[in-house]
């Protein structure tokens, strides 16, 4: 069987923010019909060395992982950066992981 490598049409966006920040991102993704996202609830430790002095080193975080189409990547990232406020005044981290492969069923669902 001949295997042809093609560029993945989706990429994975991970958005990490304070607890509750996932709601706005989730709403945006649903409104724009970007399904296939998942919200994890976790803990952040970035501020530990300072906050440990005062006894609050770990804080709750929302982590959203969502597959987004490559052709609209710039717009989506721009919108999510605006929603989460990571480049202005709020804590957060958004990053993109390129996918190496994806199953055909998944692509059919996301179409």
């Amino acid at each position: 069987m001949k295997i042809t490598k093609i560029k993945a049409p989706f990429t994975m966006l991970i958005a990490i923010g304070d607890r509750g920040s996932a709601n706005n991102v989730e709403q945006y993704l649903n409104e724009n019909k970007y399904f296939g996202g998942i919200v994890f609830m976790g803990k952040g430790t970035a501020e530990s060395d300072i906050a440990d002095i005062f006894g609050f080193g770990i804080s709750d975080r929302d982590i959203i992982a969502c597959l987004i189409p490559v052709e609209n990547k710039e717009k989506i990232i721009k919108d999510i950066n605006k929603i989460t406020g990571v480049e202005t005044d709020r804590y957060g981290l958004n990053f993109v992981i390129d996918l190496q492969s994806a199953s055909s069923n998944l692509l059919e669902i996301l179409k």
Binding site: T45, A46, E47, I50, I77, Y91, F95, I97, D98
Partner: protein
């Protein structure tokens, strides 16, 4: 110039990042995070999960549900190897086969400069507070 200052000063430069993912038993995330921080990582995010590798394993007729912690650490590409080595060495979990650590390339990052700036501000405030306390004494 310390690590944090260099991170902030790279504001307009393109810095490549990798995501280190460590999957370990519940309760061991702190060891991984502290090892990573010793090696230069600024922070980490911890998620909770359940491993399925030993799904059929039973002890005295009770099936075990191996709970896991997943640690995500976003690091500069050039620091990745050092941090992963430190995690492997200090936690010694990798040797015992109770953990797995791998890295993924990250194509774009937003917000890390902001985090670095906030951290710098916190350090400044903490130093001021310490100085004030010393003066009060």
């Amino acid at each position: 110039m310390n690590k944090l200052e260099s991170l902030v000063s790279n504001k307009n430069e393109k810095v490549d990042y990798d995501l280190i993912v460590a999957v370990i038993g519940r309760g061991f995330a702190d060891y991984v995070v502290s090892s990573a921080r010793d090696a230069g990582a600024t922070g980490a995010t911890v998620l909770y999960g359940r491993g399925i590798a030993d799904a059929d394993k039973q002890v005295m007729g009770i099936s075990l549900q191996p709970e896991k912690e997943i640690v995500l650490i976003l690091v500069k590409k050039e620091e990745r190897r050092k941090i992963m080595q430190e995690i492997a060495d200090k936690t010694s979990l990798m040797e015992e086969g109770r953990a797995i650590c791998f890295s993924l390339p990250v194509s774009e990052v937003y917000g890390i400069k902001r985090v670095a700036e906030q951290k710098k501000e916190q350090i400044r405030k903490a130093k001021e507070l310490q100085k004030k306390k010393r003066l009060d004494k």
